[in-house]
Structure formats: C-alpha cells, structure tokens
Symmetry: C2
Subunit: 639 residues, 2 copies
Amino acid sequence: MGSSDYESPHRVAIPPSKPFLTSFASTVKETLFPEDPFRQFHGQPASRKLVLGLQYFIPILEWTPRYTFHFFKADLVAGITIASLAVPQGISYANLASLPPIIGLYSSFVPPLIYAMLGSSRDLAVGTVAVASLLISSMLGKEVSPVEHPKEYVQLALTATFFAGVFQASLGFLRLGFIVDFLSHATIVGFMAGAATVVCLQQLKGILGLAHFTHETDVVSVLGSVFEQVHQWRWESGLLGCCFLFFLLLTRYYSKRRPAFFWINAMAPLTSIIMGSVIVYLIHGERHGIEVIGHLKKGLNPPTLTELSFGSPHLTTTIKTGIVTGIIALAEGVAVGRSFAMVKNYHIDGNKEMIAFGMMNIAGSCTSCYLTSGAFSRSAVNFNAGCKSAVSNIVMAIAVMITLLFLTPLFYYTPLVVLASIITAAMLGLIDYEAAFHLWKLDKFDFLVCISSYAGVVFASIEVGLVTAVTLSLLRLLISIARPKTLALGNIPNSTIYRSIDQYPNAAKIPGVLILQIDAPIYFANANYLRERISRWICEEVEDRLKTTLQYVILDMSGVSGMDTSGITMLQEIKKNVDHMDLKLVLANPRSEVIKKLDSSKFVESLGQEWIYLTVDEAVAACNFMLHTCKLDPLDCHV
Amino acid sequence: MGSSDYESPHRVAIPPSKPFLTSFASTVKETLFPEDPFRQFHGQPASRKLVLGLQYFIPILEWTPRYTFHFFKADLVAGITIASLAVPQGISYANLASLPPIIGLYSSFVPPLIYAMLGSSRDLAVGTVAVASLLISSMLGKEVSPVEHPKEYVQLALTATFFAGVFQASLGFLRLGFIVDFLSHATIVGFMAGAATVVCLQQLKGILGLAHFTHETDVVSVLGSVFEQVHQWRWESGLLGCCFLFFLLLTRYYSKRRPAFFWINAMAPLTSIIMGSVIVYLIHGERHGIEVIGHLKKGLNPPTLTELSFGSPHLTTTIKTGIVTGIIALAEGVAVGRSFAMVKNYHIDGNKEMIAFGMMNIAGSCTSCYLTSGAFSRSAVNFNAGCKSAVSNIVMAIAVMITLLFLTPLFYYTPLVVLASIITAAMLGLIDYEAAFHLWKLDKFDFLVCISSYAGVVFASIEVGLVTAVTLSLLRLLISIARPKTLALGNIPNSTIYRSIDQYPNAAKIPGVLILQIDAPIYFANANYLRERISRWICEEVEDRLKTTLQYVILDMSGVSGMDTSGITMLQEIKKNVDHMDLKLVLANPRSEVIKKLDSSKFVESLGQEWIYLTVDEAVAACNFMLHTCKLDPLDCHV
C-alpha cells in the first residue's frame, strides 16, 4: 500500500555484515596503522622483507646508499652552524633546569648521534629544549633541592629522562602517537607563549644577579620575589645582560629581514658568550657581582646507567615528570619535524619519530644527558643553513665532542648573565602574537583555548595551563558531538539538488514535506538532543498554518557516519512520534554502517524498505507522487 | 585559464559572517535551550506571560484545570496500589542504606507531594531507590559507622541528600541536564545489573541472619565474608527468606505472563510482610534468630533542617556522596520518566524534571527524608494500575501518612529477612540479560561498555564501574572523531549520484579523478590523521598503473560539519601536497561554517573559487570537461 506503487529508481544497498573478527581487525588497523606501513612488504621475498624491515626501523640504512659528497658539504656547513648554537644553548638550558652546565653539553653529543640513525626527519636538530628544562626544574625542584642535594637532583633528572624516553618509545611502539594530536595547535601556541613568558621571568634571577629566588613559576610569585629583593639587584649584571639582550634581538631582527644573513643570528649566541667571557676576564667581573660558570670538567660523557635511581622515595614524581616532559618534548619535536617535512615535501612517520626520540632519551639517560628533543630554533637554523640530512646532527655532535675534549676551560669566565640573555632572546621569539591574532580571526573558540592555556601557565603553573587547554579542547569536541546541527533543506531552483536553507536562501521548501539533515553520528551523547530538536522542527512546521499541511518528514542521513544502540532507539522513538502525528517518516541515503544496524534491529522492516531512498531528490519525488495521488483519491492513500 | 572556461551551473554560497556576539548567542541558545522553552511566550501580553511562566515552573497549575473525576478514580486505584509497594520498599531500602526503617517511610511522604506539584511526568512514582541507597551506605559507612554513631550517620545521610538536591536543581537551572546523556543506555544496563548483583549479595546478610558483615561491596569480599561465618548461618532465617523469595518471584512470573493480574505482583511485597509478621508473631521467631524491625515511632516526619551538618569534618565525603548519588538517581528518574512519556506520547523536559527532583530532595532533607527519585519498579506498577497524573503520588503520600500516624506498631514483628527477600526479588528484575544480548547483536562496543560497567561494579566498586563505563563511552566518541572515515566515491550508473564504492559495488570510478568523502568535522584531533589518510589514498591511486593517470582529487565536504584552525592548516597542506604531485584539488559542497572559514583564511582565494562546486557531479563534470579539452590541446590546459 502507499509508496509501493511508486517505482524508486535506485535502492539503498545493505552490505552483508562481516564476521565480527574481520571488522574488528580492520577497525584496529585503521585506528592504529592509518598509513599502512606494511604495504611495501606485500609480495616481497623473505630476504627483501628483512632488508625493508631493517630500513623501516633504522632509516639511516635506507638513505645512506643515496648519500653524496655534495650533500655532505651542505650538511657540514649546517652542522657547524648549529653546533655554534648548541654549545651556548646547551649550557643555558642546563642552567634553566638547575643542572650543572656540563650536562647541557653532554646532551648535545649522544642524543644527536642516536637520532641520526633512527630519525626520519632531515631537518630536525636535536638538543635540549627550554620548556622541558624549566618543567624538570619546577617539578623535581619541589622534591629535592638542586642546591642542597645536587647529586641526588641530577640522578632524579636522569631517571626522569629515562622514563620520558621509555614513555615516548612505548607510545611509538604501541602506535599511540595520535595522543599527541590532542594537543591542538591553539593549545601549543598558548602554552609555548606562556612557557616563554615564565622562562623569561625566571631569567630575571640571572640578569639581576639575585641569590635567592622562588621555586614557583607563576608571574605573581616571581615578580613578588624579584621586587622583595630590590636592594640586592646588581647593576653591573643588569647592564651586561641588557646589552647582550639588545645585541641578540638586533641580530635576530636583522636576519629576519634578510634571510641570506641567517648565520648572523645563528652565530650571535656564541659571539655573545665569547665577548661576555672576554669582558669579564678583562674587568675581573667575577669580583664585581657577575657570576661566572667556573670550572667545567674536560672529557666525554661519563656513563650513568648505575646512577638511575629507581629505588628513590621520589619515584612517583620522577615518573610523572618523565611523562609530562616526555609528551611536551614529543609535541614540540614532532610538530617541528612535520612542519619542515611539509616545506620540503617528504613524509614523516609520527610513530617512528616517537621511537627515535624515546631511544635517544633512553640512551641519553645512561650517558649523562638529560631530556632532549627537536628544538624549534635550532632546527630552523639547520634548515636555513641548507642541511640535507641527519648528517648535520652527526657533525654537530662531533663539534660538541671536540668542545668537550679540548675547549671546556675556555668557558671558565663565561658570565651567567649572558646565558640568561641568550635564553630570554630565544624565548621572546616563541611568543607568537600573530598566530594568536590569526586564531582570533578564524576561530574564536581556538583563541579561547590558546588564551586559557597562556593564562594557566603564567598565572598558575605549567601543568594547570596544559590541563585547562586540553580539557577545553576536548570539551569542544564533546559539545560538537553532543549538539550536532540539524538543518532544514530546500530545493535549489531548476536542479535536483537539496541544500540548507540557511546557507542557500534561494533553496525552496517543498510543500507538505519537511527535509531535515542530521550532521553527526548519532550516539548516546546526542540521541536525546536530536530527538528533542527534530520534534521541535516538526512541531514548528506543523504550527506554521500558512503552509500546506505537513505530511512527510524526510531525514537526510548522509552525514550520519555512525550509530550506537541509543541512536537506533532514538530513530525508533522518532518514528513512533511521527506516526502519532499521522505523518510519515522517510529516510534518505543511510550509510553502510547505519543501514546495517537499522536492518539488524528490524527498524528497516518496521519502517518499510520502500521508505528508504538513495537521495533526497528521490525521496521527495516519491512523497510528491503520493501527495498528488492522495489528492485524487484520498481513500486509497492513507499509509 | 583552466576551469574558468567551464561554466558551473551553481555557485557555493558563502554566507556573510555574522557579528561575533550574534553567533555566540545563537550557539549558546542551541547548546543550552535546544527545545526553545520561550517559544510560547512570544507575542503574549504581560499577564498571560506571568500565568504561562508560573505554569512552566509549577506544572500542576497547568494540568489541574483539566483534571476530571474520571481521572481521579484511576489515580486513586493506582495510588493505593503503589502505596502497598512503597511501605515495604521504603523500609527495605532504608535498611539497605543502613538507616532506621522509619526514615524510609518518611521518604515516601514529603517528596511525592513536592514532585506532584513540580514534576512533568504523569507516570513516575516517587520513592527511595535501591542503588542510591546502597551507595549512601557504602560511601558514608566508610566515614562514620551506622552502628556505632547512628545519629551522626543519619545527619550525614540527610546532608548528602541536601547536596544531591542542590546539585540536581542546579543542573536543571543551569540547563546542564545533557550531562546525564553521557551515561549511555549501555552504561546504565551494565551498571544497574552490576548494582543489582551487589545489592543481592548484600542481602545474604539478612537472609542468613549474619551479625557481622564486610563494608566492601565487591563480590570477592562479600562472598569471603559470608563463607568465613559459615557456622553462624541461621537456618530458620534462611528458610523463611528462601520461601518468601520464591513466593515473590512466582507472583512476578505469573503477573508477567498475565498483565491483567499486575496487582498480584504489586501486592506481593505487602502480603509477604503481613505473612512474615504473622508467622514470626505466632512462632516467636524473634527468639529463634529471626531479627525483627522492632519499635517504630508513630507520627509524621519531624523537621530536620537543624540536623544538616555542614560543619562536619566529613563534609567532603558528604558532598561527594551527594553528587554521585544525585546523578545516579537523576539518570534513573529521568530515564524512567522519559520511557513512560514515550509510551503515552507526551513530552518531558529533562531540565525541569531535574529541578523537580532537586526541590523534592532539598525539601526531603529538611523533613527526615533521604534521597528519593523516580523508581523504575514502582513507576511500572503505577503505569500498569492505570494512573492518569501525578495525583497518584499524592494518594500514595496520604496512604503512607495514615500508615505513619496509625499503623507503625503493626510492623513490630516484621522480620528483616522478609525485607531482604523483597529487595532481592526487586533486584533480580533489574538484571536485564536481554538488553545485554541486544547490545551484543547490534553494537559490540556498546556491549563492551556494558560488560565493563558490570564487571567494574561487581569486582571493584560502584564508582569504579561507573567511571570505567563513562571513560570507555567517551573514548569511543573521541576515537570516532580522531579516526573519521574517508571513502572513495563512484558514480551510480545512469545517474548523477555519487556514492561510496564500498557500499555500492556497482558505483563506477571516474578515470583520472579520485573522489574522496570526508566524514567528520575536521578538528585538531583528526587533522593529522586525515592528512595522512588522504595522502595514502592519492598515493595508492597514483601507484595503480592500470588506471588512467590521476589528474584531479575531489574532496566531498558534505560531511564536514565544522572546522577549526588545525583543519584549515590541514587543507592548505593537502593542497600543497596535491600541487606538488601536479594534480588539482577540487572541493565539493563545503558547508556554511566551513566555507566561511576557508574564505576568511584566504584558502578559497589560493585554490580559486572556480574549483569549488556545489555537488560532486558538477565537480566531476568540470574535471571531465578539462580532461577532454586537455587531450585536444594539452598546452592550453595546464592549470
């Protein structure tokens, strides 16, 4: 009866349901191996599979055969350039992490070598990073004072590095790299700017030559601590610091305007250190309140496997520090690697990168290195210097090795205030006003996430900022699921196209027919809302007396990509509701997964297969056919 | 140049961007007021608005004018029936909550009256509920022993009820009722079954007449505790309990098979109590190890406003208990109200229901009542007895009042073991095997959620079960966002329709054109995945040498309901990637919100407005036109 008279031109396919294990396996594969790394192994002989497998896990085997002398020249220049940045940054960031400066140098030796073997980025320069360094000192410093128990503190930092490495490598091995994706760009912009602000504030200690300083990182405590000691500010130190800061900012400004002179910016930190050391040596600054690094031990990284303190009473904090710093370092490193790969148009496998980062940190923690990652500023210099492959990291490591073996005595007179200026200059570059403004222009919610992340870091603590931003981002996702849009569709004149009346004001409603588009998978989180919202659409349409009496409700299911049992129940209830009002429910274009579930729950049977159409246009045609026939012979048509 | 030669029949509309505050306000309205409660106020005079407003907040004002004597007769019968259930259940559940039995009776007097005024369900029967009762005793019992400090324990329970009420009412006032939606049906099925199992196990104490019992609720501790005391089992008590349990289950089985005799099931608990009391009185059971209720105070609810202990050292636990039990009670009550409203086809406003529940618990906590909600079993009896409105709750309250005033001495000899049997019988009805099987058949993931919820409650604790299930459900939502489907589309023969090749095997690919459908909003959580996945689609297509050389990649954006800044970046990267491969990117049917963002981020400009089409069909037509022209004159066509 009813629509069975009308010949629908196309049928909606109900694919046969696959066995549970098959569909489960394919879901797992799509979730964890979206890039299908095993594709290249298909149909290869066993020996070739072994070679491919080795090349997969150790990328250096893959690209060395193609490596040329021409490439090496470029990498040599880039490697020396980044080494000149790595040495001062290494010392500075170790200082930020409250670790002995020599550990910063050690950390620029072993990890780059490991990364060169395992990493897949050609542009990433490995080294210590500011935010993770600050996090280490703020999280571990609360447990063990780096001043009172320096040895124990170093042990904890190495152990945290070990856990960070294990965590990073496991994320990679378990193919859970997508967890890093939940740190959105907006979160990272706000977080980085906040962390940079906090790090700059910490540098006031070095620039003003203060002896005591708060352990808190928030702006209120730090400024409070600075102004409490206003009588202990050392003008000599402050003057020197400001001069070098000015010099560093000036060189950066100049290099930015003339990219060919990027090396001026790259060399500036090393120049500052040399100039600073010379000045202090000449004026005997160490006697005028300018602190210097002092004695640095000669020689390569001593092994520290036995120093890892797994039995420490602070193990929980150490593990927590490892995980937090590990994920922050990952987020930065992977993002940096990806953005340069994008520019040069090659592919980076996030999970493999995580394994590489993890391995280099595990190896690092056994050889006196603390947490390293792909640092943004250093990688940008590497890229600008024309690096071709990870060999530039090897060159840098060798340069650092030479420094460690022969040049450490030269840093005796290096003033701490210069290090503070180097950190401050680097951090000011991380505050990305333009990105924040861009977010405000494009997406207000992303801007809110960014600002809360910033405010959280600056006014509370680094962890609070991060947790706030991630929670807000997740909330947005959940709200987008919990409150999906339903749109009324109309016919674009002279076509078979149906589009939202909001977006296309010329789209015309069909008399007697309400067409609704549902815009999201129907899950428990939105099933109630959708039921209410669809009822409201129908009621509003029925109340609107000017129209022809409503007879058909067409649900365009094109956007419904999935459904759970609550979704099925909700559709059943809508059908009941629509039946009560003496209307007829029609479905258009249900997708594979949805129609399978509707079929096995007997919904298709109760609705009638003939009320499910492939397109909105065909559904409307059927409704119009029925409406027309009913006008001629109303008795025959009551469905 | 390029496609500008081709005349596209329709343009994609770019709606003018609204001022920030307007769009913000409409988002807030859609999120918090999806059912638009203010619609009826539009264009009414002020006096009418006042009346409508009062009727909105106090629904009894709305329906009493239409109330008839015919309705009253039905409600009288239903009310007396549920009262006969309310009295034994009230005493039993108070026992389960480790509260004095009289508090269970008090709780069936005040709250139903409040609900009758404020509630919008016609079928809900208000009373104490088993799961919330158990939760109160397990959460508060850890802090204060109900045996050693009975007075303090009662105060805490009343205070927790107060907080539960405040929490429920605030959820309603703040329009945050959708939080309850995050407890999916699958979660509730598993949770209820688990709670029922746990409650049944607790009844072993009463049935076996044990004096000591563990405070834990998990199956291992409880069974351990039961079998440790195997020599203290009281056979008299056990025999009586089993007999009554058998009787209750038998009546339920009979009533289920013959719905007209629902009253047999409804009367069975009261009958058991009477029979039990008579038996104990006759055989002097209280001297043979059968515990009895003992003396119950005559009289109505004493006021307890001053008993609320806000200054207690256990305030945190009390608040936590209030929130957890409040949300569980809400979830049960709202779900019960909704399902009966669905059967009788009237509308229930979730947020208003929450306010009603909250108010009745706040009022209850000031009048010696502990937490109440809409109980499933009682409401089902109410519905079967033919209730017409909330007046049946008033009748029940009056019946309970009479009991309190005159009949309490009759319960002196009521054996506790009968109460245990009543609870056990009620709980066995909550274990819904069929629903679990249904979940397994329709949706494996929902089944997993259900089972973990059950296992968590039974083997760990009620809170663990709940948290596990909610986490799993949220994880599913997040995975569905993080791993959206991308589908290759093909042309359904002899039509302008493009559908997934997986679902419609007869859909034909277009030579030289790859059509991909993206199935979800593009947010930070999936932008990286989508970029990788789309690249893989393109690579696979390019590698497949049998095809015509790939020239165009059409992205069908119909399913992309939203986009954040990461999504925009991802599209820009895809474009760069596609450009690198000398292919051309084409968009089909971008939605209002998406095209606005693409426009303001200059993506539309960089892609060329002429490469954005209203339908996939028009995009394919344009590509085919270009492919054809290129074959004729390849020099002219390189875009």
